[in-house]
């Protein structure tokens, strides 16, 4: 089923928020890091994996979810977190390592947990999959509403956890949907060099579940495939696997020189940037004027700017608090 106008505007809006969030984080991340790039410096130290270009994967799936549903995400989690409804102020403060962050600065950008909307992520490839299967089992055992979504990258499809989790979810017929964001690169290694088959959705057949391939980073097509898979999960039909062709417009992490990319690849990807494409689609199909668009962009920027302001103005927790919250 295609998304209606309201759903499409929600999707577009969250793509805008996510993109502007990443662009803003990118600028702040570079503060204090140059002239010789030093990852430990600046207001946002550490690794930073930006999701520019991958927004359709987040909004096309999360448009079907409520706060009750469970999402496990990856080391590149911001777009999905935003679409899942993670508290943007607290998430931003967490990325800055501040006391007002989701975990008071203990987790950082790769370890975002917001229990209120059942969102979590892991910095270890494919390791959110087992927990998603377990959360789905929990809902089944408790006869409670909710599906679990496990996001992974295409590189994760070669991990043991991928194959084990698909098998277990299928054997137990659990309400879980596995989403592969195929951005073609596992850091510097191309999918073609790491994966024995061209399309990972074909691997679904080995585990007795439907597999979907969505091409061209198309938010509408993602919405349609995810809608079918999520409906199957909600109605007791078991798990599905969706591989989405998406674009990583940024490096693997900030500071990545991307010398491994073939010449011209980045330009070709930017030419297919999903955000202007979605804007054109809205203008062509709905009564979506320039002023409507400008208003939505402005609203998205204000939301992000407010979150950045909140994070910047927050204090660091006293360092001794590092000793707390190991146990409850």
């Amino acid at each position: 089923m295609k998304p209606n106008r309201e759903q499409q505007l929600w999707m577009y809006e969250h793509m805008l928020i996510s993109r502007y969030f990443e662009e803003t984080i990118e600028k702040i991340y570079m503060e204090g890091k140059l002239p010789a790039f030093n990852m430990a410096n600046g207001p946002i130290p550490g690794e930073m994996h930006l999701s520019n270009g991958q927004e359709p994967c987040a909004v096309g799936v999360c448009a079907h979810l409520t706060a009750t549903d469970i999402v496990t995400s990856t080391h590149r989690p911001h777009h999905v977190a935003i679409a899942k409804g993670v508290d943007l102020n607290k998430m931003t403060a967490e990325i800055f390592g501040k006391a007002t962050g989701l975990s008071g600065g203990r987790g950082g950008h790769m370890h975002i947990f917001d229990a209120k909307v059942n969102f979590s992520c892991s910095g270890i490839i494919a390791q959110g999959m087992g927990p998603a299967v377990g959360a789905a089992l929990s809902r089944k055992l408790q006869n409670k509403e909710g599906v679990a979504i496990a996001y992974i990258g295409e590189g994760a499809a070669n991990q043991g956890a991928f194959h084990e989790s698909l098998n277990l979810a299928s054997v137990w017929k659990l309400p879980v949907v596995f989403i592969i964001e195929d951005n073609a690169w596992g850091i510097s290694v191309a999918k073609t060099a790491s994966t024995a088959i061209e399309r990972n959705d074909q691997r679904a057949a080995a585990y007795g579940m439907p597999g979907y391939a969505v091409e061209n980073n198309d938010p509408i097509a993602i919405f349609e495939a995810a809608g079918e898979a999520i409906e199957r999960a909600r109605s007791g039909g078991g798990p599905s696997l969706i591989e989405i062709e998406t674009y990583r417009l940024a490096g693997h992490f900030m500071g990545d020189a991307e010398g491994y990319r073939p010449k011209g690849e980045k330009d070709a990807l930017f030419a297919k940037d999903p955000i202007p494409k979605f804007r054109e689609h809205l203008a062509a199909n709905f009564d979506w004027s320039n002023s409507d668009d400008e208003a939505m962009v402005k609203k998205a920027h204000e939301k992000v700017d407010a979150a950045i302001e909140f994070a910047r103005n927050s204090e660091y927790a006293p360092v001794e608090e590092a000793l707390e919250k190991v146990f409850v």
Partner: protein, 339 residues
């Protein structure tokens, strides 16, 4: 409650199953999963009877797929369930350790305490029956070293039941290590002293509290699981020589009850630590350091009786030679006396 005066001796296996069953009766969130824990009742007997009483939904056999089901335990616990998951042999941790130490142990911290991960991971340890180097390890220190998990290891059925009950009720991940030779399974060799009276009613042994299992004044012998029984045997022999040994069962590795150990050594002035885990970087070193760094006055340098730093050999004479035992503890004491 009826007056329970009658002695009712149980094996550790039976005591574990009884604790799990009692918690499953009062808490719908508790369920069990692992390999062969269903109709078979667990290869070490610790889930016997559960499948018949609670059925396949709550007592679920898994595929041989530890990465998936250990991860699933984390996800189910984070979502409000209280999974008890069995890792059949602790030696198998290598195939699923990411779920354990990167997720189970850290998600509470990463969420600032918002996410609870009340998993009980029960796993068998120990050798002595020639199962060689991939099925006989203890790996106490491997788990105890990493922050975010409580770790318990009973030496007898009474503690096993109480620690299991406490572990299930705890909001944190708890690693429950049970020694195969103490399980009361004939085919693994049975330590009779592990089979003790166990009350029928439910009770908790507090996690993080050691037990002084025998009082004494001349030397403190600290151990866990099999080591406690070696210590008690050594203490009986030493008593015949007029030496009064105090034996402490730590019961919990994390948190470790350092206070009970330190107070004992303050009294005796001598310390021997027994551990079936590897010698170096382990429980023995941790306990001795904990005492020494408190400046406790010692009459002799502390000793450790632990597994040599070798993979566990198959040949029966080799394995038996390498294992800790009562004689090695007595030898350690004699060496302390010489110096």
């Amino acid at each position: 409650m009826s007056v329970a005066t009658k002695e009712r001796k149980l094996t550790i296996a039976r005591a574990m199953a009884e604790a799990i069953a009692q918690e499953m009766r009062i808490d719908e969130r508790v369920f069990v999963m692992g390999e062969d824990i269903g109709p078979l009742g667990g290869v070490f007997g610790n889930t016997r009877g559960l499948f018949d009483e609670f059925g396949a939904e709550r007592v679920r056999d898994t595929p041989i797929s530890e990465t998936a089901f250990m991860g699933a335990a984390v996800g189910a616990a984070s979502d409000g369930m209280r999974p008890i998951v069995e890792l059949m042999f602790v030696d198998f941790f290598g195939v699923c350790f990411d779920a354990i130490y990167n997720s189970m142990a850290k998600n509470t911290y990463f969420s600032g305490g918002e996410v609870k991960v009340p998993v009980v991971l029960m796993t068998s340890t120990g050798g002595g029956y020639s199962d060689a180097g991939q099925h006989s390890q203890c790996l106490h220190a491997t788990f105890a070293h990493l922050p975010g998990m409580k770790v318990v290891a009973p030496s007898n059925a009474y503690d096993a039941k109480g620690l299991m009950t406490a572990a299930i009720r705890d909001d944190n991940p708890v690693i429950f290590m049970f020694h195969k030779a103490l399980q009361g399974m004939g085919w693994l060799g049975t330590e009779r002293d592990a089979i003790v009276h166990v009350p029928e009613e439910s009770y908790e042994i507090p996690i993080g509290k050691a037990a002084v299992v025998k009082e004494g004044t001349d030397v403190t012998i600290v151990g866990l699981t099999s080591g406690v029984h070696h210590g008690l045997k050594a203490a009986r022999t030493l008593a015949e020589r007029g030496v009064s040994a105090e034996v402490i069962d730590i019961r919990s590795l994390v948190p470790l009850d350092r206070e009970t150990i330190i107070n004992s050594v303050k009294k005796t002035g001598r310390l021997i630590v027994v551990d079936e885990d590897y010698h170096s970087y382990g429980v023995t070193g941790e306990i001795i350091t904990s005492v020494v760094e408190q400046g406790v006055a010692l009459k002799a340098a502390p000793k450790r009786v632990a597994y040599p730093d070798i993979p566990i050999p198959f040949a029966r004479p080799m394995e038996q030679w390498a294992l800790p035992n009562a004689e090695k503890i007595i030898t350690a004491f004699e060496l302390m006396e010489k110096n």
